[in-house]
Symmetry: C2
């Protein structure tokens, strides 16, 4: 519970009375209790001068305790008014509740208005999201371990997927084989819907797997990751199914050079924008700059997309413990798409990847 | 695009200038463009005196047009400032932008503050969520069709799951077989993580599938649903694996009677609270009221949990076109859990279920 202590220190440093942690992802970060409360209210209330408490749907109390929450926890039933109950609990606990911090990056305006209704004289100057983001930027060794496990699961998923490519199979069939193989190993949750895209389909980086049969002599793009006890993996590989044309091979090689060079350039002190530029310059010089239509990478941890964002304009210096993706892509409409991605954590003198599946072009034969 | 016209009429009726549809689910509802923008900005801007436009990540523009959006659409790249761009676009389009409606049930405070920064003289009196909720309460025949298809997919999933129960298999194995069978049919997306819980595990209604082998002479609870083109199914069945004790059988029968009686009681004019009471009274009279620890049901449509909420205190009268779950449950810690659930839509004189898997106790033999 060191993270919760850090948050309590922050509450005091900022001269706040109450902090309301409202994002289930952040509740998990501070308490180890992983829960999607859906439209119900799950919150952690942290005080400058009192012990924190959790407020949760009655249904979830057993799971929260099982997850290791030993502080106070109060439940509510669906027909009760949670914010009135929360206000009573806070007022019983402390007489200081006039200066608040909120998770403004996720708290909906409607819930904010419900809080304000209960505390009409309070002010809400602090955005706790900034504190949480800052804390989440730096992963602990325990968190790195969980992400390494998630990376191993992603490597297994690639093996399952590469083995599943056959003539006559669709992109969706390949996804089915990946999911099945993972679930048979007890790996139940992906960090996002698995992407398998062949040929020109891969030129749409936000598309899903299709029902068309995978044709030979195309590239097949995989983008996938797992959720390992609340910590995510995310990796992409593009493989050759049969023979590639010179141009297919060329965009693969350019993308690979960009990925490897950027990954090699990671070290403490380089900025996010500089790192993006390392990869982008290689792709631009090769004449494909207009087809690299997204940032180089995104932070990863308890969510698939968090900080730091590896892009133009972000002058944050990368430091040990930061975790993010390095994923250049080249997407040529009606032709092909390539993306190659590892997530890494910054070390004292470079970085270490969470996934280890080879990035050299993998040739899958057509039988 | 009739829904978008209704929204435009509402904007005028409420004397608003601008409405910002910010929830990707609502964007899909009004435009048919289904997209999870993650931390990026996807918005639909609707005006009293100008044509609406969509604002999206550059990456998503192709998919939005493919989904049928024929209005203006503007993209942004990751390093650009979306709210400054949105403000420019609005000011080019109309000179009226001082009274706003926002989707307050989902718009984060942080994004609200970014909008307010661009429009410091604007007011934000209207909660568009109330309008969207009201519209979503009543499903069109086209929406009912999509939900019936989703229901058929859930029925298929039950068949796959019941066939997968065998001695030596775990709850997770059964989930793997369900997902695999669905994906082989091209059904790629569930509406939530599939729940398979055997014996005492089922007494925790928010738990997930475990690695323990399913023991004979227990009940096994299934709760699952699919996402069919943005419309959800959600259904639960509890089956007997081997011989049940009298008490296991009793809680099944009580739960079934509650479910069937409540489903039979649905007709236009009954309130949500009255319907909850129909089921709850049966379970309470049988002595198990304390073990029915959640509301009777929740609305369903483009999300798994929406309005109307079928619970004590909700005096909304149910009307034709409304869609919701009827899912009484009895959860006895360290013993067993039963839940039986269909989602239905209200008709002129009753209701019709989306799922048709038999609710009579299904005996799965132990070989």
């Amino acid at each position: 519970m060191k993270k919760l202590e850090s948050l309590q220190n922050w509450v005091q440093d900022q001269h706040l009375d109450v902090v309301y942690i409202s994002d289930p992802n952040s509740v998990a970060y501070f308490t180890n209790f992983i829960s999607d409360a859906h439209e119900r209210i799950l919150g952690l209330f942290v005080f400058a001068d009192a012990e924190p408490f959790m407020f949760a749907p009655e249904l979830s109390i057993g799971s929260a305790k099982k997850a290791g929450w030993t502080g106070d926890i109060y439940g509510y039933l669906d027909h009760q008014k949670p914010f009135a109950m929360i206000a009573d609990l806070i007022k019983q606990r402390t007489s200081h509740y006039s200066v608040w911090g909120l998770e403004k990056d996720s708290l909906p305006v409607e819930r904010f208005e419900l809080v304000r209704e209960q505390f009409p004289n309070a002010t809400f100057p602090a955005n706790v999201s900034e504190c949480v983001r800052q804390m989440k930027l730096f992963k602990t060794p325990g968190e790195i371990n969980l992400m390494e496990e998630a990376g191993e699961q992603a490597d297994l998923a690639f093996t399952l997927g590469f083995n599943a490519i056959q003539e006559g199979r669709t992109e969706q069939d390949v996804v089915a084989e990946i999911q099945y193989g993972l679930m048979k190993q007890g790996i139940m949750e992906m960090s996002f819907d698995t992407i398998v895209q062949a040929g020109a389909n891969a030129a749409n980086p936000h598309g899903g797997p299709e029902k068309d049969k995978i044709q030979p002599n195309q590239m097949v793009l995989f983008d996938l990751g797992t959720n390992n006890k609340g910590y995510m993996s995310d990796a992409s590989r593009t493989v050759a199914f049969g023979q590639l044309s010179d141009k297919q091979r060329e965009i693969y090689d350019v993308c690979l050079e960009a990925q490897l060079t950027a990954q090699d350039a990671v070290k403490p002190g380089i900025t996010a924008a500089q790192l993006d530029k390392v990869a982008r310059d290689i792709i631009t010089k090769a004449g494909y700059g207009e087809y690299f239509i997204h940032r180089l990478g995104h932070g990863i941890g308890t969510s698939t997309h968090e900080f730091p964002s590896i892009m133009e304009g972000n002058n944050m210096e990368l430091q040990p413990g930061m975790c993010f993706s390095i994923e250049p892509g080249i997407y040529i409409p009606n032709f092909a798409g390539v993306r190659i991605e590892d997530c890494v954590h910054v070390t004292e003198n470079g970085c270490k990847a969470f996934t280890h599946t080879s990035k050299a072009l993998n040739h899958i034969p057509v039988h």
